[in-house]
Amino acid sequence: MIKQALIAAAVAAAVASPGAASATTDSDIKELREQVQQLKQEYERRIEALEQRLQQAEGVAAKAEARSTSAETAAIQAGTRPAAESAFNPAVSFILNGAYSNLSQDPARFRITGFAPTGGDVTSGKRGFNLGESELALAANVDHYFRGTLIASLQPDDSIGVEEGYLQTLALSHGLTLKAGRFFSSVGYQNEIHAHAWDFTDAPLANKVFLGGQLADDGLQLRWLAPSDTYFELGAELGRGRSFPGSNRDKNGAGASNLFARTGGDIGAGASWLLSLSNLRTTAQDRAYSDLNSLGTQVDNSFSGASRLWALGGVLKWAPMGNETNTNFKLQGEYFRRNEDGNLSYDTASATAGGTQTGTLRSAQSGWYAQSVYQFMPLWRLGYRYDRLSSGSVNLGLVDSGALSAADFPIYSRYKPTRDTLMLDFSPSEFSRLRLQVADDKSRLGASDKQVFLQYIMSLGAHGAHNF
């Protein structure tokens, strides 16, 4: 711009001077020459200044570029991973879990009176120091269609189990997600949550009697998320029904089905909620448990028939302005209702004590719990849980017909088990938690178990993410 103006001025001056010379006096020419000289000097000065500024700017830019190049190189270097096969290793995380338990009742005699034992891991645990279940989780995308997850549980008795092992579609689109393999069933609210993320050391009594602690079936799950701004989800599961309330069967087809619906939302900036309703249907075949008859003889009972379970679960979480760092509050509850219809066979394994007999069984039983956890200051949380079950109505054909008496089925005594639990935990970081829990457990008729647990839960490896 300035350069152009300068050239134009110089050209104008050059053109002007010879033409002017013939028509004007010498003094005029001298004056003109001086003016041009001044103009020239002025422009030269300005060009020099401009050049200097340009040089400075270039220098700064070059420096900045050098700086950013070195910073980017550093970034790239730091981000470089070895180009080996191991670069595709799945995300690995594991959980260490252990406790010291003090129980006033012998855990070997643990029963939840009024309800058939589930065969699941539902007892009050071991007395004294004991290692809990350690969890090893591996997860990665398989390809652009699937993600695979394996969660193995390493038991303190040196056995290894597959807690969950499933594939999940990444993007079927239209809000659809398909899961296949072994996974925690979407029954109620807490069943899907891994034990290390529970707010209490043990499962609610209702989950113990209706789901055997925690139900993980082998099968398929399809979920559909509605395309609305309000969360609404429908899902269906088909499974083997391999564990309580079903039983392992040698049969084609599905032994369990589960339908569920979920909805949830926010209340203001601070609170959000989730409600879920599910209906689990299983067909049990020779689902066995042991009991003592009226003579004190051990009997092996087994149930074959249909079991239908309704579960209604809800959770409400609140934090001031939705900022949960300092304080937050969580309210959670579930209600279960189960109807069973089928045959109960009674076997003393010795003909003199009654032999084998079979009669109908028809039952309607229910239970619920409610719990709240309050983080009253950073790192510290206090929680209370109340459990209540109702043995409801259990009609046994063998008792109605007079073949046996109700005293031959002590496990089906009418009873309302309850439990009060208080919990205090301290989490030095996101990855560690230390917990003290005390409970008054009235699961067994006529025995109140005073329980104290001291527990640690440590998360190592890949950063976890937890469902709402």
Partner: protein, 301 residues
Amino acid sequence: MKKIIVSLMAGACWLLAQPASAALKVFACEPEWGALTQELAGDKVSVFNATTAAQDAHHIQARPSLIARVRNADLVVCTGSELEIGWLPLLVRQSGNERIQPGAPGYLEASQLVTRLEIPKVLDRSLGDVHPEGNPHIQLDPRNIAKVAQVLGERLAQLDPVNAAAYRARTADFLVRWNAAIRRWEAAAAPLKGLTLVVYHKDMAYLNAWLGMRDVGSLEPKPGVPPTTAHLADLVARMQAAPARLIVYMSYNSPQAAEFLSERTKIPAVVLPFTVGGSDKAKDLFGLFDDILARLLSAAK
């Protein structure tokens, strides 16, 4: 049972029948990206902000309302670098929405577009909640915002070709105004050069790098671990020996620790809006930096 299925189906149909808006739906993990999208797209998009300036983006619940919004999003704009690792992967996986899966055009991680600072040489949780990909709090350097704006504007044009010209024009206009604002801020912030700070969390790195300030301590003993009394006592002693000029904390931090240190050391404490909405004046991205500079300049006098 059948009745229930029928009523569920009816409910689903009702939800399906709800009018869907034609505008591009953008899910922004943090308000700064929501505000930037709004600058570049105006009324051509509807923006949903998953978090507010009062919340800590490290600790957000993967709550139902967010799952529903991700399900319907055409574009998810987040910081990335593991800032949202505790919740975003869940939302994306549960959404059943193929358009916003990582790698798809509808998934944008802003931190991948800029030079990240503080990439740790050693990865060990005993050092706190460190991010392997570097410090994710990139939004406090306005030059980063400009870099993200260029890519975001182009991404909007790619996803919504009908309005591509409008996005490009708005982006060009925004960048002119933004670069002019950066020059203005840099001139105004000259007195802040060399200023020493005690920060709350390691979330000032980019602002410091831009303005030539330096953090000489943090209220958190380790990244992500809340202040402890022992650490604060140590910090008081250190600051009495070699005081920093300012104690700085963000709108979502609790003020107690900063006030405690300020009272004992007589170093002024100042709260900054961490993102758009973090103060009355931080109504948009321009207001955010205007307010940050005004607060720092007045506190450092």
